[in-house]
Each structure stands twice: as structure tokens, then as C-alpha cells.
């Protein structure tokens, strides 16, 4: 409920007010029409002239048209309200996700966040667009019509009430039985999907291990569970339609019957020509009552899905970013120094630390490399600097100030982070290079050209349109190596004080790797360079090399020093180059 209230504007409330007004008019007119039946019947029986019927007919027609216009107006408002609601909700979800930390994104999983921002919001929009009108209309119709009926013989009201009660009981029982299974449905469908997907992706492995039967059993288990579940719900839900039909038809009949009994028990002298007309019009009105309750059931059928979506969206909206910036806007005199003091890190809920007691300091303009085997924690370590994660213990300082005191934007403006996996966005090459905001002036064309040159991304000149050439989503129209060079250029174009290369070089061929390193030295001497690498060749010339093993620092120094002093480093070196090549 709160979710709905928070995402509607003042204008929407005004719309809603008008909507209620229109629906009242609509209901009034619709209930008015059958009443004319009451007037017509005695006229028939008394043999009135045609002109009288035409007059009543004209009035009825007017009512019908006016009611049609009101309904259309209501539909208009309704669609604006629900579209505007979903627009705002979608935006709020999106900005919330934008504020999440990496760990939170991982916890939700990117795929799940995508479906939440798109499908779940759409689901709610549909629910609102169908449900809103019904929710307003049904009770008004029901109350109005019941008033109309009850002003006459009570027997009619009782008949109607019994039918409605029967209807509600049927629906409540059916929904109560089916609801828990409905909730399970999505999970079971996902399960089927995943099992089949795994089978498809691993088809070679499946065959090579002769595991066809293993996979078949896995799928059949998922298939059985889904079928059992959906068989139950659809069997239960298929009671609804026959039951409703029965109740409606029976009600009409019973009202006629009651009418006959009432008439039979009325003294002959009091019987007017109108008496039976009343019965006929009540039959119509009662139908409206039952109909409106039936529409309410539609909401109940849609409700479980909507509730699931609401819950999923609330999960996102109620999560607050666990990485919050401070107020310090950054100091411009003292730049590019990084210091780690006794930093340890573990993922929430993990048993063991990924990083343990890490301390080092880097001064301006230095180039420092981190090397170690897979899982040694080197990538995690550099991810602590832009606060993608926060250290579990210990502190990280930039320019002598603890990074938690920095305004997040100011902190990240000091840093040029280049990831292992090059990420491109759809748009031109230029859009990709000037991506984001570096807190300084807009980069000029010369800046971009220089960044491209340093990053060895000369191929851009040869692309159709140069810097205006189009990059498709995910960068699928450029090669992996080209993507990597563009992402390096993007980092350089920000002109940051600290450059972080998070295993960026491994995807480059040896030649480009070397060229790039000499360019960095030549053009970006004043920037601090932090490099995570796998190849010894990439980092041989760094001022300082820090060797990590199982999350701990096991060596610190230059290449030559480490070769003598650090056995882990020597092992790594020997695994790549032979003795004589060193």
C-alpha cells in the first residue's frame, strides 16, 4: 500500500477524485436503465400508444450514452494514473539501484534487479490499470444496487445477498487453496528454465561424462514439481467459472420465482400493473450486484502476483546503500598518495578473510603493482580504494585523509578505474570516452585524442566516423582487445590523480602491453599508477611490487629484489619465463 502512495503525485490524486465522481455517475446511470423496464411493463399491459414508448426509449438511450461517455472518461483518467504511477516507480527503483554498492548488487544479482525494474513494475502497472476502476466501482455498485433492491421487498435482498455470499465463499476457498501454490509457480518455472539452460550450456560435458540420464532425472524432477503444482491450481481455479455462471442464472430465476410468490400472496385489489415489472427490473439490478462482486474476484486473482511484485520491489526500495560518503571534498595540493593501514576484508557471511592485515603506502607518481595467484585477493584489494567495498578492519587513506570522510563523488573523481572486463555502453566512441562526470571541465577533443594515443587506440581513426563511430550495446561490434584499449582511454581521459588498472593488461597482446607502459611513463608521469597484473613482464619496471598470497602480503620491493628475497614471486616468474630469460 505504501508503495502505491509513495509513487503517486498530487495530480494523480486529483485525477482519482474525478475518477470516483465519474464512476458514481456511471453506476447511477447503469442502474437507472433497468428501472425504465418497470415503467414499460404496465404500459404494455395497459396498451399505451407508441409515442409513450418512444419517449421512455429516448430517456433510456440518453442514459446509456451518458454512461458510455462517463466510462470512457474514467478509462482515460485510469490509464493516466497507472502509467504515471509506473513511470515514477520505475524511476525510483532505478535511482535506488544506482545508489547500491557492488556487494548489494551482487546480493540481489544483476539479472534479478533487471527483472525487478522492468517486469515487476509492468506487472504492477497492469494490476493498477485493471484493479483501480474495479476497486472503486464494485463497492459503489453493490451498495447502490442493494439500496435500490432493499427499498422494496426484503426477499429480493436476501436472495441477492445469499448469492453474493456463495460467490465470495467459493472464491475465498479457491484462492486460499491455490494461493500458496501460485506463489511457488515462479520459482518452479525458473527451476525448469535453469535446468534446461544448464543442460544446453554444458551439452558437451553432459555427453562426455555420459550424464544424459543424470540430466534427464534432474529435469524430470523439476518438470514433475511444476506440473503437480500447476495441475492443482488450475483444477481449483476452474471451479470459478461454472460456479459464477450457476449463481447468476439461478439468481435471475429465483427472483422471478420470488416475484411470483409475492404477487400470489398479494390481495387481488392491491395488484397493479407495475408489480411484475418491478420483478423484472430487480432481476437486472441484482445482476449488476453479482457482476460487481465478480469483478472484485478478478482483483483477487491478480493480487497474488501483484503482492509478489510489490514485495520484490519493496526489497529494493527498502535497501539503503551501505556505502555512504562523507563531506570532505578533496584537497588539490597534496595529490595521488594512497595508504593502507592494517586493512582486512571478508565478504559478509564468509568464513575466512580474503585480505589480512594489509599495510603499504604509495607516493605521488609512483607505479605500484600487485601480483599473486588466482584468489590471492589482489583485485579485491584495489576495489577498496574507490570504495566498491569497505574494509572490514583497518583504514584506507588518500592524500592523508581516510576515504570514508570523502564525498563519494570527490573520491571517485580522483580515481581512474579500469576494469579487467572492458565494459562499453551503446553510443558513440566519444560518448564512451567522456562517460560520466570527472568534476572538472568537459574534456576537449584534444584531450580525447591524447587519451586514445596513449592507450594505443589508433584504430578509432579508421572506424567509420572516427570518434563518432557507433558502439553497440556491450561493445559487440569491436574486438575484445579494442574494447580494452577504449576502456583504458576512457580512464585516462578523466585525467585522474590515481589510475587503477584492475588486471587490465592481461587481455592485451605483448606488444601493446609494452607500448602502453612506456606511454604511461612518458605522458602520465605525475599520476599514481596502481596495477593488478598476472604477467611478470607487465610489472617488471614498477617502482614497487607487492606480492600477495592467500590474502597476505608476502613480499614488497622491486623486481630484482623480489627475485632474490621472495619465493612466491620467484615461482610466478619461473612459471612464465625460463631461467635464462629472467
Amino acid at each position: 500500500m505504501k508503495l502505491f502512495l509513495n509513487n503517486l503525485r498530487k495530480r494523480d490524486y486529483l485525477y482519482m477524485l474525478v475518477l470516483v465522481g465519474l464512476i458514481v455517475v456511471m453506476v447511477w446511470l447503469e442502474l437507472e436503465i433497468p428501472k425504465y423496464m418497470k415503467d414499460i411493463t404496465p404500459l404494455i399491459l395497459s396498451g399505451a400508444p407508441t409515442s409513450k414508448f418512444l419517449k421512455i426509449g429516448a430517456k433510456m438511450l440518453l442514459c446509456a450514452i451518458a454512461s458510455g461517455v462517463a466510462t470512457i472518461g474514467a478509462g482515460f483518467l485510469n490509464s493516466r494514473i497507472s502509467a504515471s504511477f509506473s513511470m515514477r516507480l520505475r524511476y525510483n527503483i532505478f535511482s535506488k539501484v544506482e545508489s547500491f554498492s557492488l556487494e548489494q548488487i551482487k546480493r540481489f544479482s544483476t539479472a534479478s534487479l533487471i527483472t525487478r525494474s522492468t517486469n515487476d513494475v509492468m506487472q504492477l502497472q497492469m494490476f493498477l490499470s485493471m484493479g483501480l476502476q474495479v476497486a472503486i466501482r464494485a463497492p459503489i455498485t453493490a451498495i447502490w444496487a442493494l439500496c435500490d433492491i432493499s427499498s422494496s421487498h426484503w426477499q429480493y435482498s436476501v436472495a441477492t445477498a445469499v448469492s453474493v455470499a456463495l460467490l465470495i465463499v467459493t472464491i475465498v476457498i479457491a484462492v486460499a487453496l491455490a494461493m500458496p501454490k501460485f506463489k511457488k509457480m515462479q520459482v518452479l518455472t525458473d527451476n525448469i528454465n535453469r535446468t534446461a539452460q544448464e543442460n544446453l550450456e554444458g551439452v558437451r560435458v553432459v555427453r562426455a561424462y555420459n550424464a544424459e540420464n543424470f540430466e534427464k532425472e534432474k529435469f524430470e524432477k523439476a518438470n514433475d514439481a511444476l506440473t503437480k503444482n500447476s495441475l492443482f491450481t488450475s483444477r481449483v481455479m476452474s471451479i470459478m467459472n461454472p460456479m459464477m455462471n450457476f449463481i447468476m442464472s439461478a439468481l435471475t430465476l429465483v427472483i422471478y420465482w420470488i416475484g411470483a410468490i409475492i404477487l400470489a400472496n398479494t390481495p387481488v385489489s392491491q395488484i397493479t400493473a407495475e408489480s411484475f415489472g418491478e420483478t423484472m427490473s430487480f432481476a437486472s439490478i441484482a445482476m449488476h450486484v453479482v457482476m460487481s462482486f465478480m469483478l472484485v474476484t478478478m482483483i483477487f486473482i491478480m493480487l497474488p502476483r501483484a503482492i509478489v511484485s510489490i514485495r520484490r520491489l519493496n526489497e529494493v526500495l527498502n535497501t539503503n546503500s551501505n556505502i555512504v560518503g562523507g563531506d570532505y571534498m578533496g584537497n588539490t595540493n597534496n595529490v595521488g598518495e594512497v595508504e593502507f593501514r592494517n586493512v582486512s576484508f571478508k565478504y559478509p557471511d564468509a568464513e575466512e578473510y580474503v585480505l589480512r592485515d594489509i599495510s603499504f603506502s604509495i607516493s605521488q607518481g609512483e607505479s605500484v603493482a600487485f601480483i599473486g595467484s588466482t584468489g590471492s585477493g589482489k583485485s579485491t584489494l584495489v576495489n577498496l580504494i574507490p570504495r566498491f567495498y569497505d574494509a572490514t578492519d583497518g583504514e584506507v587513506f588518500i592524500d592523508g585523509v581516510e576515504i570514508k570522510d570523502y564525498n563519494l563523488k570527490a573520491l571517485r573523481n580522483k580515481i581512474g578505474y579500469i576494469s579487467q572486463k572492458a565494459i562499453m555502453f551503446s553510443g558513440s566512441v566519444k560518448d564512451n570516452l567522456v562517460f560520466g562526470d570527472n568534476g572538472k571541465n568537459e574534456q576537449t577533443n584534444e584531450d580525447l585524442d591524447e587519451a586514445l594515443k596513449i592507450a594505443c587506440a589508433n584504430f578509432v581513426e579508421k572506424m567509420d566516423g572516427g570518434k563518432d563511430a557507433f558502439i553497440s550495446q556491450g561493445g559487440t561490434n569491436v574486438s575484445g582487445g579494442q574494447k580494452q584499449r577504449l576502456s583504458i582511454a576512457r580512464g585516462l581521459a578523466r585525467k585522474p590523480e590515481i589510475l587503477i588498472f584492475d588486471d587490465t593488461f592481461s587481455a592485451l597482446d605483448f606488444k601493446t602491453d609494452k607500448k602502453l607502459r612506456s606511454n604511461l611513463k612518458k605522458y602520465l608521469a605525475s599520476a599514481t599508477k596502481i596495477i593488478v597484473a598476472q604477467r611478470i613482464g607487465t610489472i617488471k619496471d614498477c617502482n614497487q611490487i607487492i606480492v600477495l598470497n592467500d590474502g597476505k602480503i608476502v613480499g614488497k620491493g622491486t623486481h630484482d629484489e623480489l627475485l632474490k628475497s621472495c619465493s612466491v614471486y620467484k615461482e610466478i616468474a619461473l612459471s612464465q619465463l625460463s631461467e635464462e630469460e629472467l
Binding site: 554444458g202 562426455a208 540420464n213 560520466g436
Partner: protein, 590 residues
């Protein structure tokens, strides 16, 4: 991933064939369906008879208003109520039967498709995307099952109801019938026009939605970069502009399609007015009884409802047929050859492998492997190297008979691989591929996989020997941690898990296809040691682009353009100074 729109109105290519396939598959359920059909015909007849009874009651009352024959009325009412109750029960029976049929039917379809996946030749699977196949298993099957059960019965009853009500109306009063029916038809034309108009906005909405999904996907996937470059505002701006567009097309399409209901209601009301007024006039002129007015108001409902439903079902049926066509396209594919007749079997495999003038191409016109011959002695470690596209992985595909050779043959222990079953052949190899494959399950499940009777110690041992033990211990539940897309596990770690899996398999021969390419070199060296232990006295095929890893192979086959251009040991090949030496030295060029 944005899912394909379930309601997309695809059109079948060959309607007749689609129908035939579908009905052949429905055969086991034919008896149940026939029962459902009979029941629903009875229900329809009762429905059509209803208004006539009401008419009779009305006439009974109005004609004898001062002396109502209550007994007669009561008798009639009880008869009708009984009929209604019977109709409700039959109706539920129909619902029960059809929901059972459709659920069992879709279960069977899903099962058959999944079975099919494991018996289809890879040449077919490699050419279909997974998303496409998955959407056949879920979306298409769902569409078929939910529409089919509805369509058959609804189409039938709707048609009956439509014809029946027209006939009844004409019997009661042809003049009233003509007026009312022509009015309803007019309304339908009007609705059709509006639907056509709103189509434009639906298309626009769909495209905005697609754009929005694309943007969301891109920004969420690139979250790190968006954060690192302070691009949140920029992303929000773009989002807002697409979102506004979506708002505009969304409310318009919703409004226009929402017009259908009020228009239907309006037509219903006008019809009601016509019946009341015209009926009254006819009644006074004694052309009809007053009861006809009552029954007409019901018949007009029976007439316009099925008209509406038939229109919906034709589009539904069309998309159902298109979906079933997509499903049967898979089910009707040729399967791998049944090999039960093969009696030859390799048991205690020594590991001699001979490639004898092997020829192969993924399509017949462009051969990939032209004339490949090699002899591998038992226990040798064979490395296959060469530039991308030289045909290295193809050799594995042929060795495992994922694809069949076009010419020549491959022999294991001097028996051609085509003489034994694929199952027997696959038992001879443990395989680790470049594309690491981890499924949803615990770490242990992933390592053990389909092998039976594996002890916990063996699992730990295998993980230790690939250097994963420490990492697994850092996971929340150690070896019982569920591996899913949410678990943070690197590509290298995944690869190590698959190597551990191969170790558990413990087959006589080993294939490593770029198995260590996402593992760092030091670890690779450690794995090599583990593998060396494992491959002692076993034949192993190692495909690698990192030449440092295969220096100690017994035999290096250098491939170029589908043929072996050089072979020998690392030392021999370097001394030779040919293609291999060139490849090797390019690593160190400055």
C-alpha cells in the same frame, strides 16, 4: 534479459502441418477431450434453453396476474434449477478435464524437448541459441497448453451459442432479431477500427519498453564503471527521457484498448433499449408475448459474448499454432543414430590413438580439417597448438564423436571409434573445456557430478590437488555452498572446479581444451603438476594457446589451416626454426 513477449501474435508458416502435428500429439488424450466436448455441448444447450423457460414463467405470471398458478411456476423453477446445477457440474467437469489434459500435455512436451536436447546432434545444437531453445520449452509450451485447452472448448461452445441464439431470436421475433443483431455487428466494426488505431501505440510502447530494458541492462551490468566514473546522473537522465516516452505511449495504448469495454457496454445498453421499446410496441400489437422481451435480453448477451470470444480466439489460435510449430521443429529433428546394435567394446583401454587421414568440415563446402594424420602412443602427452581457427577444437569434436568425420577414421587401440558406442567412447575420456560449466548445486555436487559412490575425502583430495581447498573453505558453507549466479566465484576458480571434476571421473584418457586459459600461470604450473600425476601412463590431449604450458609435452602437433604442419618435442621444434619457433618467440618480442 527481456523475455520475448508471450502474447506476440506470431503466424504459423504451414497451418495444416502445425495442426496435424499438434493433433497427433493430442491423441492419447482424445477420449478425455471427446467427453469434455460432449459435456460442453450439453451445457450450451441448457444455456440456450434457459431464456425460453424464463419466458414461459414470465408469461405464466403476466397472463394470469390475478391468479398465479404457483404450483406450475414452482415446478418449472425446480426443473430449471436442476438443469442449471447439472450444467454447472458438467461445466466443472469440462474445466477439470481440460486443465488436466493441458497440464499433462505440456509436461509431456517439456519432457520430450528436454530428452531431445540430449539426443540431438551437436551440429544442430551449435546452430541454435540457448535463449531460443529455452523459450520453446517455457514460453511456447505454456502458450500452447493454456490456449489449446481454452480454444478447443471455447471455440466450439461459442459457435454453438452464437448460432443457437440467432436461431432462437429469429424464432421468437424476426424483426427484433434483425434490429438487435445488426446493431451488435455495427458495434463490432467500430471496435475493430479502434483496435487498429491502438495497435500503433502498442508498437510504440513495445519499442520504448525495449529501449528501457536495454538501458537498464546496460547500466546495471556496468555498475562498477558507472560508479567509478560518477555517471549516475547521466544514466538517470537518459532513463528519464526513455521513461517519459514510455509513459506517453503506455497510457495512450491502454486508454484506446480500454475503450473496448465501454463500447461493448454501450452497445449492450442500446440493444436493451431497442428490445424494451420495440418489444413493447410489438407486444401491444400482439405480435409477441411479454415473455419474449425477457428472453431477448438474455439472448442478446449470448449472441455478443461469443462473437467477442471468437475474435479473440482466432488470434490466440494463430499464435498457438505458431508456437507449436516452433516446438515441433525441435521434436521432429533427426536424432543421433541408435547404437544398440554395436557389440564391440573397448574395456581395458591402453590409450593408443591413431588419426588416419581425417577429413572434416562444419559444412561440406568449406573443409576445416583437410588431411590430418597422427599416431599417439599409449601414455603420451600430446599438445595441439596453432593460431585461432587452425582447427584445434575441431579435433576434440571429432575424437569425442560430437561430430562425425567426413573421411578417414580415428582408431583407439586399433578399433575405429565408429565401431563402438558413443557411450563407451565417452567413458574413455575425462574432458575439461575452455567454457567452464558449473551448474546450480553445491560445490560437492559439481565436483562429483554424475559419478556414483564418491567419498567426501576423494572430493577434498581432488580440490586440494587443484589448489581450491583454501578457497572453498572461505565460502559460507564450505563444500556444501550452493553455487548459483549469486555466488562470487571467479572464472579461474570455476575452471579449477571442472578440473577437479575430471579428476574424480578418473577415465583412462584425458582431454584438456584450453583448460587452464583463465588460470594464472603459477597456479597453472601447480595444476600441471596435479595433471601430470593424473596422466601418468595415460594418454592426454592438451590444447593450449599459452605455449609455456606445453613445453614438456611428449609430442607437439602444430596445426595451421586444418593440417599438421610440424610435429615433435618443444626442443626439436625450436631447433627446427619453423612455424612453431616463430609462434613461441613472438611472446618475447620487444
Amino acid at each position: 534479459m527481456p523475455r520475448p513477449d508471450r502474447r506476440s501474435f506470431g503466424k504459423p508458416k504451414d497451418t495444416k502441418k502445425a495442426f496435424k502435428d499438434l493433433f497427433l500429439y493430442l491423441k492419447p488424450y482424445v477420449v478425455a477431450i471427446v467427453f469434455a466436448v460432449i459435456f460442453s455441448i450439453i451445457v450450451t444447450i441448457i444455456t440456450l434453453a434457459g431464456p425460453s423457460f424464463i419466458e414461459e414463467i414470465t408469461n405464466l405470471i403476466t397472463k394470469n396476474i390475478t391468479n398465479i398458478p404457483l404450483q406450475k411456476v414452482a415446478k418449472l423453477c425446480i426443473i430449471i434449477l436442476t438443469l442449471y446445477a447439472l450444467s454447472a457440474i458438467l461445466n466443472y467437469a469440462v474445466g477439470f478435464i481440460m486443465s488436466t489434459v493441458s497440464n499433462l500435455f505440456s509436461k509431456k512436451l517439456r519432457k520430450d524437448i528436454s530428452r531431445k536436447i540430449n539426443v540431438l546432434p551437436l551440429s544442430y545444437l551449435d546452430h541454435t541459441t540457448h535463449g531460443d531453445m529455452l523459450s520453446r520449452i517455457t514460453n511456447d509450451v505454456d502458450l500452447i497448453s493454456s490456449n489449446l485447452s481454452n480454444s478447443i472448448i471455447t471455440l466450439l461452445t461459442s459457435a454453438l451459442l452464437l448460432i443457437g441464439s440467432v436461431v432462437m431470436m429469429f424464432i421468437k421475433s424476426w424483426l427484433l432479431a434483425i434490429c438487435v443483431i445488426s446493431l451488435s455487428l455495427l458495434g463490432f466494426v467500430f471496435i475493430a477500427i479502434i483496435m487498429k488505431k491502438s495497435q500503433k501505440y502498442f508498437v510504440r510502447q513495445q519499442s520504448s519498453l525495449g529501449q528501457l530494458n536495454g538501458h537498464v541492462e546496460e547500466i546495471y551490468t556496468g555498475h562498477t564503471i558507472v560508479k567509478a566514473y560518477n555517471a549516475e546522473e547521466e544514466a538517470k537522465e537518459k532513463f528519464t527521457s526513455i521513461n517519459n516516452e514510455l509513459y506517453n505511449s503506455a497510457w495512450k495504448s491502454q486508454f484506446l484498448s480500454g475503450l473496448m469495454m465501454p463500447i461493448m457496454a454501450l452497445i449492450g445498453n442500446i440493444g436493451y433499449v431497442i428490445i424494451a421499446v420495440l418489444g413493447a410496441i410489438l407486444c401491444i400489437e400482439n405480435k409477441i408475448d411479454i415473455g419474449v422481451i425477457a428472453s431477448f435480453t438474455m439472448y442478446i448477451g449470448y449472441f455478443s459474448r461469443p462473437l467477442n470470444q471468437i475474435a479473440q480466439i482466432t488470434t490466440q489460435l494463430q499464435s498457438t499454432l505458431a508456437a507449436s510449430e516452433r516446438v515441433f521443429e525441435v521434436l521432429n529433428q533427426n536424432e543421433l543414430e541408435n547404437e544398440n546394435y554395436k557389440t564391440q567394446k573397448i574395456e581395458n583401454c591402453k590409450g593408443k590413438v591413431v588419426f588416419d587421414h581425417v577429413r572434416f568440415g562444419y559444412n561440406k563446402n568449406t573443409p576445416i580439417i583437410k588431411d590430418f594424420s597422427a599416431v599417439v602412443k599409449p601414455g603420451q602427452k600430446v599438445a595441439i597448438v596453432g593460431p585461432t581457427g587452425a582447427g584445434k577444437t575441431t579435433i576434440v569434436n571429432l575424437l569425442m564423436r560430437f561430430y562425425e568425420v567426413d573421411g578417414g577414421q580415428i582408431l583407439i587401440d586399433d578399433i575405429p571409434t565408429t565401431n563402438i558406442t558413443r557411450e563407451n567412447l565417452h567413458d574413455l575420456f575425462s574432458m575439461v573445456l575452455q567454457d567452464t560449466w558449473i551448474f546450480n548445486g553445491t560445490v560437492k555436487d559439481n565436483v562429483v557430478y554424475s559419478k556414483e559412490n564418491v567419498s567426501a575425502d576423494e572430493v577434498v583430495e581432488a580440490c586440494k590437488s587443484v589448489g581450491l581447498h583454501h578457497f572453498i573453505k572461505t565460502l559460507p558453507n564450505g563444500y556444501d555452498t550452493m553455487l548459483s549466479e549469486n555466488t562470487s566465484i571467479s572464472a579461474g576458480q570455476k575452471q579449477l572446479l571442472t578440473i577437479a571434476r575430471a579428476m574424480i571421473q578418473n577415465s583412462p584418457m584425458l582431454i584438456l581444451d584450453e583448460a587452464t586459459s583463465s588460470v594464472d600461470t603459477r597456479l597453472e604450473l601447480a595444476i600441471q603438476k596435479a595433471i601430470n600425476k593424473l596422466t601418468k601412463n595415460r594418454t592426454a590431449f592438451i590444447i593450449a594457446h599459452r605455449l609455456s604450458t606445453i613445453k614438456n609435452a611428449d609430442l607437439i602437433l602444430v596445426m595451421q589451416n586444418g593440417d599438421v604442419v610440424e610435429s615433435g618435442t618443444h626442443k626439436e621444434l625450436l631447433e627446427k626454426g619453423g612455424f612453431y619457433a616463430e609462434l613461441y618467440n613472438s611472446q618475447f618480442e620487444d
